[in-house]
Amino acid sequence: MTVAASTPMLRRHALAATALRDRILSGGVPWTLVIFLLMATVPWLGSRYDTFLASQITIDALFAVSLNLLLGTTGLVSFGHVAYFGVGAYVCGILMKTYGVPFSLAFPASGLGAALFALVSGYFCVRLIKLYFAMLTLAFSQIIWAIAYKWNAVTGGDQGLPEIPYPHLDWMSSIPGCADLSIGARFYLLTLVLVAVSLAIVHHIIRSPFGRVLTTIRDNPERAAFLGINVRLYQLASFVIAGGFAGLAGALYGIFSRGVFADYVFWSKSAEILIMTILGGAGYFWGPPVGAAALVWLNQVITDYTQYWSFVLGAILLVLLFGFPGGIVGGLDMLWQRLKRLRNA
């Protein structure tokens, strides 16, 4: 406590000392705010289709950031992260559609539900390491998929849960400029705010002492244990937090796409989110959101020209993995460092 109490000055000092690169890439005020404001103008400046794409990017960004808490921060490779996304989507969808629960309750409930399931499945997963851990996460996600597909009475089975209602967003009419926005655009703005808050929380967690402990486990679990860290317990905590935020992303996605279907929980979605994360750069906080934007955008552009989207995606990944192992953000970072050195020289 003594240290914490005497830190305002130290903290200012620490903040000032943070490298420029850090400020620009992770959590610095100007850039994050600029991007947030730019994203917020999409419903006015762009088409309905642009709003649709921006929604997808925003939700995928949160989903990928939650995965990266495991991959980039804790060093755990999950092949089944979609399970928690799916649990969140179903919890929110079922509560809102079947029971008429308002969004303001259903949304946090979906995060809690997903976190709870992550606690149960994670309890078993963190007992295994590396590939075995990854395979067990995959197994749990397939269990969720099977339940979603077969439990007709609750999940709607292969018919899914169509027509999940939008939250009540009439109150937005009183905000200047929002009166003419469609319900889809309004929900996009709500999504943007909720995702921004979630990202801020995850960012803060990564910077906290707890987050530092996770990075020591990522780098060297054996050594971490001999600092006095209960490695499995921290891995489980990270797993639960990641699951919870994936659940929030799932809840938003179910409403955005007007329904929750078993397809959402299929394992290929886990792979897609892993690709986004690696494409953007797992070593950076802003890697996964950049990866999400790149993948959603590329998907649109390329499918206009060719139906061989997977082929192009594979080629891009190949180039990236060999040429820029740090992903898009890692590549930009490298370029930036080089420019800085040139300027200083």
Binding site: V3, T215, T216, G228
Partner: protein
């Protein structure tokens, strides 16, 4: 202080450590020596909870710690360094030691403070005392081998252990680096009133600082005592013939 009695461990029929007993007194500097494969690292791993013994007990200050998980044993006051260097390679030197302080002070569960603002003075002081102050912003994985060994020592010291176990602290070092490391260890052991147990294959190192030596051979302790007693032991001479022991006299 540290009391090992009747410790045994087999790997698929091979008895790596067999009925080993060893006592290290408070503030004593003790060494375990022996040829490669004698069971030194296994013995360390048994003491620090990385391996479960088949039989025997480990006591710290009279408390039975046999078979406790490594993170508990660390919290009870045993620090260790590893033979293969073990640091957090993607973090900076400063972040490495700072993390060790965070955990030692029980802040690991804290979600709301910023890690980089905590224990800065303690970290800087420790880095200065182990001679790494100039490299604090260096990413640990890019340090020279000798510096990585120093950093590992720093990680162990940050949790203020009462007993420090060092597995070959000078392995792979040049003669100068070895000399510096030994002086550093001596100074730190004295400053912090540490009990030190280390393994080493360099006989010169062992005889220059150890107050007590145990000789491990094929999993058994064949001699134990003050350096001059061990040096005079006929069994030790037989095992070590041609291993440089005579040169140090």
């Amino acid at each position: 202080m540290l009391e090992v009695s009747g410790l045994s461990k087999s790997f698929g029929g091979f008895r790596a450590v067999s009925d080993v007993s060893l006592t290290v007194d408070t503030r004593q500097i003790a060494a375990v020596i022996g040829p490669n494969g004698a069971g030194k690292s296994t013995l360390f791993n048994l003491i620090t909870g990385h391996l479960r013994p088949d039989g025997g007990t480990v006591r710290l200050d009279g408390r039975d710690i046999t078979g406790a998980p490594p993170y508990r044993i660390c919290r009870m006051g045993i620090g260790r360094s590893f033979q293969r260097t073990n640091i957090f390679s993607q973090l900076t030197v400063f972040e490495n030691v700072q993390a060790a302080f965070l955990v030692h002070h029980g802040r690991g569960r804290n979600f709301w403070l910023r890690a980089d603002s905590l224990y800065r003075e303690e970290t800087a002081a420790l880095l200065a005392s182990i001679g790494l102050a100039a490299q604090e912003e260096t990413v640990a994985g890019t340090l020279s081998y000798g510096n990585q060994k120093q950093l590992e020592l720093g990680l162990a010291l940050a949790s203020s252990p009462a007993v420090l176990l060092l597995d070959e602290p000078t392995a792979g070092m040049s003669a100068t680096e070895t000399h510096e490391t030994i002086r550093l260890l001596e100074r730190i052991a004295a400053e912090r009133a540490l009990t030190l147990l280390f393994t080493e294959h360099d006989m010169e190192v062992v005889f220059s600082i150890a107050q007590k030596i145990a000789v491990l051979h094929q999993g058994h302790i064949i001699a134990e005592g003050r350096p001059e007693e061990v040096r005079a032991d006929p069994e030790v001479r037989r095992v070590y013939l041609g291993h440089g022991l005579t040169h140090t006299q």
